[in-house]
Point group: none
Chain length 202, copies 4
């Protein structure tokens, strides 16, 4: 779709924004990383904000697509939730800096909140729909609470990773690390579903 040149720039911006956050990266940095003249960045894009917007748009599109198919897969609710967790994990894994970028943005750039909200919305709607059988609309077991808890559990895997690596010595995002984390999250979902269904049965 985009010219090769533009894709190059976008890719560099994606990497750098993810690593150092929007404010921590200059257009010069992006151009240099992309092996392109600074003015080219402005030729292909409408500036730094545009760059970020497109990166987010790309992420959101594939993020939503990834989760949608998981949500809409067949099987029990539990299986679909596990599938969604897997899809989420796989997506963030495949889109290296997504988690850090969004988290950094959410935590430090109020001007992007509305933007982020628009794109978080579908994810939330799906969670809500998926859990509607078991989850009340309000209260501590409402879908929205699980939304926060589970997305926090997934996202933090990635945002905390560089700090945890310093602490543990080994990389939490290595293949083994991710496998362990995935098993843990599955176990957590099981635990939550067990209890949710138990309280339902009562």
């Amino acid at each position: 779709m985009l010219k090769e040149r533009a894709e190059q720039i976008l890719a560099s911006a994606r990497i750098l924004f993810g690593e150092r956050g929007m404010h921590g990266v200059s257009v010069r940095d992006i151009a240099e990383h992309a092996g392109v003249k600074k003015a080219a960045v402005f030729y292909y894009f409408d500036g730094k904000d545009d760059l970020l917007e497109r990166i987010l748009a790309g992420y959101y599109a594939s993020h939503a697509a990834a989760l949608e198919s998981a949500f809409q897969a067949g099987g029990t609710l539990r299986e679909r939730l596990q599938g969604t967790i897997d899809a989420y994990l796989d997506f963030v894994l495949a889109n290296g800096n997504y988690a850090r970028l969004v988290q950094g943005l959410i935590a430090s750039n109020p001007e992007w909140h509305r933007h982020l909200q628009r794109n978080l919305e579908p994810l939330f709607r799906w969670t809500q729909a998926a859990l509607s059988e078991l989850s009340p609309e309000q209260g501590p077991l409402a879908a929205r609470q699980f939304f926060i808890t589970l997305s926090g559990a997934v996202i933090n895997t990635f945002t905390y990773a560089p700090v945890l690596e310093l602490m543990w010595g080994d990389d939490p995002l290595s293949e083994a690390g991710i496998a362990e984390r995935r098993a843990h999250l599955h176990w957590v979902v099981d635990a939550l579903m067990d209890k949710l269904q138990a309280s339902q049965d009562r």
Copy 2:
């Protein structure tokens, strides 16, 4: 301890850094917010980094203190974990921008990772010690996995709040919102402990 003027400046920095992240705030902003001349900031502090360092130091000290007493309280493991979750929640609640500041820093300023790690360390050690009875050293049920999951569940309550507010219309950090969240987290801890103990008994 610090002079009134310095306290004033530190408070402003705490607020602004929390709202917009370190890079998003200029010394000028801080000075203006504090009602002080820009040069006064440099008179009382050694620059922006020093300011951030002191803010973090303050946070960490009270954060650690808050969690320590919870970890070391009596009662069953389950009660102590619930107490810790409560303490964590209360701490972040009382230190408005702590979560956003740290999360923004972790996600966008690699140069602060080491610093953050030093102060996350005791928290992790305590979790590990607390869970040692039930939790294996390695694998999906290792303490470190619960550390990520639970701190993510707490932290995200706050970092996602402004975006969720846009989505839900009501403030997730209102008294009611926090009460609901707290109940949810207690329920989650129960769910996890139930399953952990069940697998132990087998």
Copy 3:
């Protein structure tokens, strides 16, 4: 080689650094003197240090070239020494602020010593080579002593000039002044050579 604009800036820096020393001149001063916006200075150069470095590099290159041909000219040792003095004098004369710049740097900016040394080195080596027939390696008549004495005698002509002008009323760097100084230096070289050869003959 350099763009006109850059040359302009460099020229202004050369003048101002020479007049007031590195620390005594701000980038603003340079920009104003060059009739250029301050940011343009940073567009063309990597900052103040870069500017100084290039000025020095330029000076050194032409300085070395000027002295080299004199050292390597034919004739008796005495003639070659006289030629070198002339070349030195002519060079400093043609590069107005060279002497003041270097002297100011040497006397007040330790961080530039290494840099200055690297470029003084070839000059010293040549003196040493030139005098090797007459001069012992060590002691009061070693080449290095003559190096200091003679370069001091030349350099001081220029560095002291503005103060001497206040004292004498007439400009030591006027054509007549320089002619007188040149004759004096030739006389001095003759005096030194006479005595050096006399002690050799004995």
Copy 4:
């Protein structure tokens, strides 16, 4: 005369100005070096310029005194010149940073030229008086030419020292280095006097 505190500050300023030049030293640096509060510097002195002025005044007074006695000693002209060179050398040696300070000032701070001139004046008058028997008023052998040549030969010993040390490996201002230099300068004076008297006799 001055309070101990003031003397302390003056001493520190003397050292630092000599090492890094006036512009390279801040009042803060001086205060810290002197182990005194910054405001104390302004209490005892009228600011940075005043400090420099007093340092120079002190130097000049002792400089003039040192040379005066040498000039006015008995003996042949040659002996008196040698004595003066010795006195000059000894003075600069005893007043470590004098040469560097003055040279740095002369080469980079036009505003101090008048000041320096006033204090160079007596030195020049004495040289002129001393050489009046042998030296014509005008031309290449005028006293003023010898003034430049000889003071340059002495002064450069000190200003170039740190750079020459990098080049030679050993310290030109060590006891041995100075002894060699002193012998060299005596030899130079002899050479100049020999030739001057020879041309006189003709």
